[in-house]
Symmetry: C2
Subunit: 321 residues, 2 copies
């Protein structure tokens, strides 16, 4: 059903850039962001939710733009003391960041859902968009390597994405329930569903793997537009290109198109990859070529508007059929 509401699927830093653009391109109340929770993990007994928190910090204007992750004006006294006490140092938790993990862990233990906790934090940050964890159940990405399985953050942070990947599993996904608020949103009038330029394997795939997610998105009947996280054969951020190489998939926009084929209605690729557009279109997938590398806020808003225009064009095309 067509309407004004936008649903975006996002991982962490890369996806959150486009999400910020979308929050400016439409009224923030018209934006629902579905966050990947499969890289959530328990560290020091605290529930840490990197992708959800990155979206919170980004929309709340609290991001650390120097580091490229975490909170602005962060201090690190906790980690220094952890080190002095001989505690695990491989995952950096800023002192301010820690407040989210501590309060969240306490709230979850008291019986609140991840959705409720996230909504309360968003409210206190003055965020009007809805930020919805994909599911309230605890799901954990496991990275398969030739030398065994790694927990995602072990692979991603501790081992700096160095191990070769042979595949992924999402522990707990079979018994996970799609976020009920998202289900209700997808049943209401929606204008477009945007897959942000996040890692297809470990940010977007877990969201799509939640039982009922693909069906609910498809049933909404609105265009699903993905923005390629791969530009000129490399990932702007993170291990997406390296993963594609190791999985034997071309680490190109063509590889991204193949990955999402059958599910998305259009792919946005960067102008640096313009020569690949014809190839992808000839296989039946509409392509929009634009600048997808987002440096400024204007870049983010421009890409958001482009994604919405592309979705509207595809919706119009299918209506005229």
């Amino acid at each position: 059903m067509s309407g004004d509401h936008i649903v975006a699927l996002s991982g962490g830093v890369g996806g959150a850039k486009l999400v910020l653009g979308l929050s400016h391109a439409v009224a923030p109340e018209q934006l629902t962001v579905v966050t990947n929770t499969a890289d959530d993990f328990d560290h020091f007994g605290l529930r840490v939710c990197p992708d959800t928190d990155t979206v919170l910090y980004t929309l709340g204007g609290l991001s650390n733009t120097e580091l490229g992750w975490g909170r602005a004006n962060e201090t690190w006294t906790f980690m220094k003391t952890v080190a002095a006490l001989g505690g695990a140092e491989w995952f950096n938790l800023g002192d301010g960041d820690l407040a989210l993990h501590v309060l969240r862990t306490e709230a979850l233990k008291s019986g609140q859902s991840q959705t409720e906790v996230t909504a309360a934090m968003a409210r206190s940050m003055g965020i009007a968009a809805a930020i919805l964890p994909m599911s309230d159940q605890f799901i954990q990405t496991r990275v398969n390597t030739p030398h065994g399985q790694l927990a995602f953050q072990e692979y991603f942070v501790r081992d700096r994405c160095e191990p070769q990947v042979t595949g992924f599993e999402f522990d707990g996904i079979d018994s996970a329930v799609i976020n009920p608020l998202l289900l209700a949103t997808l049943e209401g009038p929606v204008r477009a569903i945007i897959i942000a330029p996040s890692n297809p394997y470990v940010s977007v795939d877990p969201i799509l793997a939640v039982p009922g997610m693909r069906a609910a998105i498809k049933a909404s009947g609105v265009p699903v537009i993905a923005v390629s996280p791969i530009v000129a054969g490399t990932a702007i951020k993170g291990p997406a290109a390296k993963m594609m190489d190791e999985l034997g998939v071309p680490s190109t926009v063509v590889g991204v198109a193949e990955h999402y084929r059958g599910f998305i209605d259009g792919l946005i690729i960067d102008q640096q990859d313009a020569t690949a557009a014809a190839d992808i279109e000839s296989s039946g997938m509409p392509v929009w070529v634009t600048q997808t590398v987002m440096k400024s806020l204007d870049d983010r808003i421009d890409l958001a508007n482009t994604a919405l225009a592309f979705a509207d064009q595809i919706a119009g095309r299918s209506q005229s059929l």
Copy 2:
């Protein structure tokens, strides 16, 4: 049995001053500090142990001498973020301090005992003295007031000791087990047992209320010396004098002597209270008058040496009987 080992019973800041003096007056390996754990509490889902941590920070040379509590070089980004998120602000947890609470909570959940956690932290701080929580069980002081019962930290921190007290209860004390390492220490050769100038009602009494504690101390057969936390009718720190007034006990060294009568073998009082010495001695309790107000490290060491000399004198006196 007489020996070189010293056992000190301590609450927080006031007691820790004398404990620091004792750690200089004898070889630190000859010092066992028994800490009050009845003001431990769970905050934000984290186990906070104010007295034990104060002793750790004091002996580890990590105390915040400006604030008079907490850690040196502390930052407060966690609390600022908690406030921004609408979390409870009444109990201040510094960013570095938080590391102890987080690591401790995780270790306790994994099955370690409070004693083991404390020993590991002491080791990492380079502390050679043994710091023993009075019990590994969770005991909580409740403060009775005319308007109902308060958890200790609610009374002490949140309500700034303003409510009138009518008495105290130590939740969990009946099923608590005396720290087995302390029991072993008390069975070995001991030179003296020193009750630091801590609050008699909420710091020392909980220690003495652990089942078997008084008997084990008495069975050691060595002098028990208390240092009065009341000087010239007021407490150097904390609500001891106010509590005595409210409980109808004279808030004087005589009141302290009465409180410990039958258990201690000698009381050290400040020179400002010298005129009370005769009164207390006439009732059969040996008294030593000295400077008990500890401003410098030398003051701490001097008072420690005085307490040990007093204990030795009393031990000699009873041997000569």
